[in-house]
């Protein structure tokens, strides 16, 4: 597909290239203006407030937002997000591999992909209630496990703890990983496997020297995406627990009160830090994805 087709419907075919190009940009102006107004402006005001600009420029709020209890919260959130991402990557890849290599029954692969497409978007309230129903204090599985001798809540486990959140978030992280990884696994050409065997390599050789390296960008990208996904989730966490160590919840607490701009600079700083972390993760994800696609064509 050529991208030298910077020709329009023939109307200004005689116009000099520079003029043609700048005219074309105008067409996307409404779109960019819209994004600017409703996405960039709010984001910028968060940063504006985080830097306490009313009183002149100051890093103090940003600093405070990254120390003490707030720092503990960031660390906690990074832990459960990374943990959740790791679980998602491992099980998602396994599931994708199982689905990709299953030849009978024939509906299996399609079922897994369809289901993943749906489950990956299941976040929010119903997810929280599902798990409250399953392993909450009154949950059905909790009861069953107690009957089998394992009291989930004997220690300080709660749904808002790291293991709890990892479990709940896996519900959408694993399918999301499946969706990312399936095309990558499909992209592993059979000829590579056969060529490897032909040259004297075993299964292990293949995965070690070709399979995993080729999958690596997808796996890394998947990790980053899942991390970002878990870190920024709010709704599910809000219903599951009161734990203020979850950064998104923390921001919610700050915002829940009255917006008194000066005093809540810390709250906005928290939001600003979250934006920074998300921007970095998603940026790296984007790079990883470009790499992965290169090997899939």
């Amino acid at each position: 597909m050529t991208d030298t087709l910077v020709v329009d419907g023939g109307r200004t075919a005689g116009a000099p290239p520079a003029a043609r190009r700048s005219w074309a940009w105008l067409g996307v102006l409404p779109f960019f203006a819209f994004l600017f107004l409703f996405l960039i402006v709010p984001a910028l005001s968060v940063f504006w407030n985080a830097f306490d600009t009313k009183k002149g420029f100051s890093f103090s709020a940003m600093g405070e937002a990254f120390s003490g209890q707030n720092l503990d919260a960031f660390w906690f959130s990074v832990r459960f997000s990374a943990g959740s991402a790791a679980v998602g990557v491992v099980f998602g890849t396994l599931l994708a591999y199982a689905a990709a290599t299953a030849t009978r029954p024939r509906w299996l692969r399609n079922t897994v992909t369809s289901f993943s497409g749906v489950a990956a978007n299941m976040g929010g309230l119903p997810l929280a209630f599902m798990f409250l129903a399953l392993i909450g204090k009154q949950g059905v599985l909790t009861k069953v496990l107690k009957g089998l001798g394992w009291d989930l809540y004997s220690g300080d486990f709660e749904l808002g703890s790291v293991p709890g959140l990892i479990t709940v978030y896996s519900y959408f992280n694993i399918p999301l990983m499946v969706l990312i990884t399936l095309p990558a696994i499909d992209g592993l050409k059979p000829a590579w496997r056969e060529a490897c065997a032909n040259l004297g390599g075993t299964s292990f050789t293949f995965w070690r020297r070709i399979g995993l390296p080729v999958l690596a960008p997808s796996l890394l990208g998947g990790f980053l995406l899942l991390f970002a996904n878990s870190f920024s989730a709010y709704a599910t966490a809000a219903v599951l627990t009161d734990n203020s160590m979850i950064v998104s919840r923390r921001i919610g607490f700050f915002l829940g009160g009255d917006v008194s701009i000066g005093e809540n600079a810390v709250g906005f700083s928290l939001a600003a830090w979250m934006i920074i972390i998300m921007a970095v993760s998603m940026g790296l994800y984007w790079v990883a994805r470009q790499r992965a696609e290169r090997w899939q064509s």
Partner: protein
């Protein structure tokens, strides 16, 4: 909201089942042990994904308290009635209607904004496509919780606009952007846009007519998919609504659990089934479109090839 709109490197659109062309499986396990592992994984996965759903259903529909719940009471007192309780509550209908209005408004605004933009980009500045694609990742960099912080700050400066509940709509458009842009982009790539436009224009049709009578009917699947996905996103959006104190459906879903647990669970179950069916529907639609597209694309290239030298 999850980041699922980004996952598909094949750019086929939002996370729906990629068309399974059943490629030759790589490294298919040869011995029986290795064949066992994938099967075990599948079974465990199936359990993990179904059990929470069943648990929710049980809490929603079975009037047996957990303390008394046991093998003998397993099938007692199941009833669909608690699901209907929500519909009788006074606050439900306004909340539901508001969410519907928000969804409809978001879909409309999305189409008005995205369709012309996407068509324009595809036709005039294909080079910009990667840039636009990146731009659609932006909403993920500014997650809902951070966005709402910004909105709260901006609100006092635009009171006349932001006081209405419907002021949420543009922000929902932003939130749904990754899904909707991908959907429409996939639709545009599935049709031979250039040829259709040139054919239509050469037959005397103006731009608006071309868009309305040629492009939109051919983009039906993409538009419907985008609409359904948007609806699913809006109907389930909790974060912004809650923090801006908007009385849409999701905040009510939570409130109801507080007042009448079983009815609340029932409502959440229904909401889950509702959004799920929207996604399933989209998935079915896009699979049908992709299967048809293969023959359309072939026919289109035959037609194009017969008229001019094929582009390099």
């Amino acid at each position: 909201m999850s980041l699922a709109g980004l996952d598909d490197p094949l750019n086929e659109g939002p996370p729906t089942a990629p068309t399974a062309l059943a490629p030759a499986p790589v490294g298919r396990p040869n011995n029986s042990f290795a064949r066992l592992v994938p099967n075990v994984v599948l079974i465990v996965a199936a359990l993990f994904f179904i059990l929470p759903l069943l648990a929710l259903a049980r809490f929603a529909m079975q009037k047996v308290p957990t303390v008394l719940w046991d093998w003998d009471t397993l099938f007692d007192k199941w009833s669909l009635k608690p699901l209907a309780v929500a519909f009788g509550e006074p606050e439900f209908w306004p909340a539901f209607r508001l969410s519907l209005k928000l969804a409809a408004g978001t879909v409309l605004l999305t189409m008005l904004l995205l369709l012309p933009t996407a068509i324009w980009v595809h036709l005039r500045i294909p080079r910009m496509r990667p840039v636009i694609e990146f731009v659609t990742v932006l909403p993920y960099m500014i997650p809902a919780i951070a966005l709402v912080a910004g909105i709260k700050l901006v609100k006092p400066h635009a009171r006349w606009f932001l006081n209405s509940d419907l002021s949420l709509i543009p922000f929902y458009v932003v939130l749904a952007l990754p899904f909707t842009y991908r959907s429409i982009d996939a639709g545009l790539r599935a049709i031979d846009l250039r040829t259709l436009v040139d054919a239509s224009r050469s037959l005397g049709s103006g731009w608006l007519s071309t868009i309305g009578r040629v492009l939109i009917p051919n983009l039906r699947t993409a538009i419907i998919s985008a609409a359904f996905l948007t609806a699913a996103v809006v109907m389930g959006e909790y974060t912004i609504a809650r923090l801006l104190l908007i009385d849409s459906l999701p905040p009510y879903q939570r409130i109801l659990v507080g007042t009448d647990t079983q009815a609340g669970f029932g409502l959440n179950l229904l909401a889950l089934l509702g959004t799920t069916s929207l996604f399933v529907f989209v998935s079915v639609l896009t699979k049908k479109r992709d299967r048809k597209r293969k023959s359309f694309a072939y026919a289109a290239t035959q037609l194009a090839a017969s008229q001019e030298p094929s582009p390099a």
